[in-house]
Amino acid sequence: MRSFGKLARWTYKQWLLAPLRCLLLVVLALVGAVLAVLGSVLVAAVVTVPAIIAANRRLAELGRRLSSQWGGVLIAASYPPFPADPVRREDGWYEHDNQLYRHPHVPRFMRRSASLAEDQTVMRDWLWLMVTPFVGGLAVAAPVALIVAGAAVAVMASSPAGVGGGAALAVAGFVSGPYGLRLYAMWSKVLLQPVADSWWRRSGIGRAFGQRWHAIWRGAGLAGLSLGACGMGLILVVVGVVSWGGLLPPLILLARPYLNHYRRRVDEWSGIRFESPYRPQPSPPRPEANGKYRVGRTLHDDVKSAVAMQRYGWVLKDPATWRDLAWMITAPVLSPLPIAVAAVAGVAFFGLVCQPLWWAPWAVPIGLIEGVWVTPWYIWYGVTLLEPSLAVVPSWVSPLIGLAATAVMVVVAPAVLRLRVAWDHLLLRPTKQARLAQRVHQLTESRSDAIDAQAAEVRRIERDLHDGAQARLVALGMNLATVEQLIDQDPAAARALLAQARDTSTTALTELRNLVRGIHPPVLAERGLVDAVRAVALDTPLPVTVTADVAGRLDAPVESAAYFAVTEALANASRHSGASHIAVDLRHDGERLRITVTDDGRGGADPSRGTGLSGIRRRLGTFDGTMTLASPTGGPTVLRMEVPCAYSSPRTSTS
């Protein structure tokens, strides 16, 4: 009410200008609607989307400005920034989505289109343009209409009463002008304010509705994909029967990427993790003493046929292959339900509800030009053709029926999607056995990595000791022997040699200290991970903030792996990133240790380049730890490491 109270303070000038402003807004609403309709036609004909959206944005911006200037309602705008322009590679090409382009226009266009497709403000602007003539537009049209009608009545009237009535109408138009402007602005705010500020987003209704609404289309999408898989499955069966199984392995391997794509979709849409269930490919056979390759009970002369035979066994003996096939063939069983839900929702909402609203822009021109008037309810008549008993319902009720049917579909869609996913879950997830096989494979790999790394480490230590401390101790012994000889004959020379011996021992100690630091840093042994990281942070030339929530000591090998991973990350960050500040966070939640290293450098770190990051991955991999790197160009770089581990003992010291 406070906002209406403000109206009293409006100046007479504003009251007088209000009808003119209303008129301008009516024109804006009509022009906007026409442009939006034209724009949507152009988009349908695949003309440059970003340009049209930019035009729509300009109209929406105008609406916002006029709403705040004339209607007194401030509407904030929040458009996501345009994506960065594609960067020219060193070889002169432009990269986008693993494709190279000669010129930057195409990738720029694709980036913009992709970001606009996800941008909610685009649809809201569009909706505002199209619906305003029927909502906010009416609010500003009313004062104008009153004045025009009043003027007309006053001019045409023959009696004083008629003139008086016309004048009264016109005055009413002038009086209602500012209120119309205010109503227009309030309506505009509904759609033009940032999405996050809208009441349905803040109340959580928008999110709940959005999830259910998406479930309708996702269920249908999954059903469609599974029908595609069904076609593949039928081909597999036919080819398998015709070729006596001979062509099955290569075809099955061709089908797997499609199924993995399906798994990823389910992952993304249902939030249930679907891992790939396939057994890892066996390593190629090694020749035996007689130069032959053994696969099962057969010996092959050349490696090619051995590998082919091995692949045959690998694919056909994998239970996942047969579970896949069963899933493909049975796809039609559960597909009709989600597709029917989507079809009903589509016809009800877009056909029965939106079509009558959308009718005017296209049917009116057709009617005026051709003289043929299409009814706004023609979709409903289509429905009554399918079900004649519905003809008793008056056609204007059909949007309500459409809304009701949509609501029912929105309510049932999540359950239908869950049913679909449960079925997929049954057949497409790895079995316990497959999971174990994968685990064995992974453990074998990480074990051999660990053994290799350890062997290299031991070799390095041996070399350092051999060339360093050991050699110096030998020199020291020789020096002392010489001193023994000289001590009576030439005390001065003996003294010089003794000084040299002392220097040698100091150097040997320094070398040993550095070596020990590389094997297992003493601070780590004395204080544990957190303080060891603090000590490294102090020794790093950049400012490093360390925050920690680790309540005790962890197992020594995990501490060591984590420590070296952090030192490596710090070294990388201070060497390559150009950062001015690094933050390290260590946290243990009773089950896993989580380490985050963040720097404010230039980003763009690539784990596949350089050995540092892959070294971290390998170190942590030995303990089933993981490493993820997020390093967008321009920074910040965030390195996350996670290692499952338990406390070895609660902390005893007080520090």
Binding site: R502, T506, L509, E526, L538, P543, V544, T652, S655
Partner: protein
């Protein structure tokens, strides 16, 4: 002068005791573990204690913890901490209370007996003896725009030696300067670092260490 030695390795403990006795110290106790050290620190009248960071039974930083605890109970209790490695982290903890009588040296420094004994004397007199390696690290990790980087190279050298706890006479001798020249350099350093000037050697060193301690990265 009554000295306590806490060191778990027999050879080193024995060597330290001999060295100290040879220089006229009275070694009142030579202990080999954390609990013994705690008991000795609490009961014996001591002029200075020489303590290894790592001690049984846990072989972690037992010695350091005992020392910190004892100094909390009686601030300024003279303690010289020895270790196979030096860490800024430990140095900062030892210096945190701002009272003197602290030493933190690599075990290697024992090899140079004269300097080691000098360090023990300095600490027992309430001064400080910081390992050159610690001071070098404290100095190199100063933020780029820090006043320390505005010092001239000579002033930096003087600051480094002073932070180790050395006397003006020693600094002059080491850098081939007259004592008055050293004094001028020190005055200039204090001005550039904006520290309160003091005639007392110990208080001066503590001011410098406190300064380095707080400005480093944390």
């Amino acid at each position: 002068m009554r000295v306590l030695v806490a060191e778990d390795l027999y050879l080193l403990r024995d060597g330290l005791v001999r060295l100290l006795e040879a220089h006229g110290f009275e070694v009142v106790a030579a202990v080999a573990s954390g609990p013994e050290l705690r008991h000795a620190l609490a009961t014996l009248p001591l002029d200075v204690s020489i303590v290894d960071v790592r001690l049984p039974p846990t072989f972690t930083d037992e010695g350091l913890q005992e020392v910190l605890r004892a100094r909390q109970a009686s601030p300024g209790l003279p303690v010289l901490v020895l270790s196979q490695h030096v860490e800024q982290l430990y140095a900062r903890e030892l210096l945190a209370d701002g009272t003197g009588g602290v030493g933190y040296l690599l075990k290697d420094r024992v090899v140079n007996a004269e300097q080691f004994i000098d360090a023990v004397r300095r600490v027992s007199g309430g001064g400080t003896a910081m390992d050159p390696e610690v001071i070098a690290k404290l100095l190199t990790n100063q933020p780029v725009r820090d006043p320390v980087n505005r010092l001239s190279p000579r002033e930096r050298e003087v600051l480094e030696l002073m932070a180790q706890g050395r006397s003006n006479a020693y600094i002059g001798q080491k850098l081939f300067l007259s004592e008055s020249a050293v004094g001028k350099h020190i005055a200039s350093i204090f001005m550039k670092l904006d520290l309160p000037v003091s005639d007392d050697d110990n208080r001066r060193v503590l001011a410098v260490l406190a300064y380095l301690n707080q400005t480093g990265p944390s």
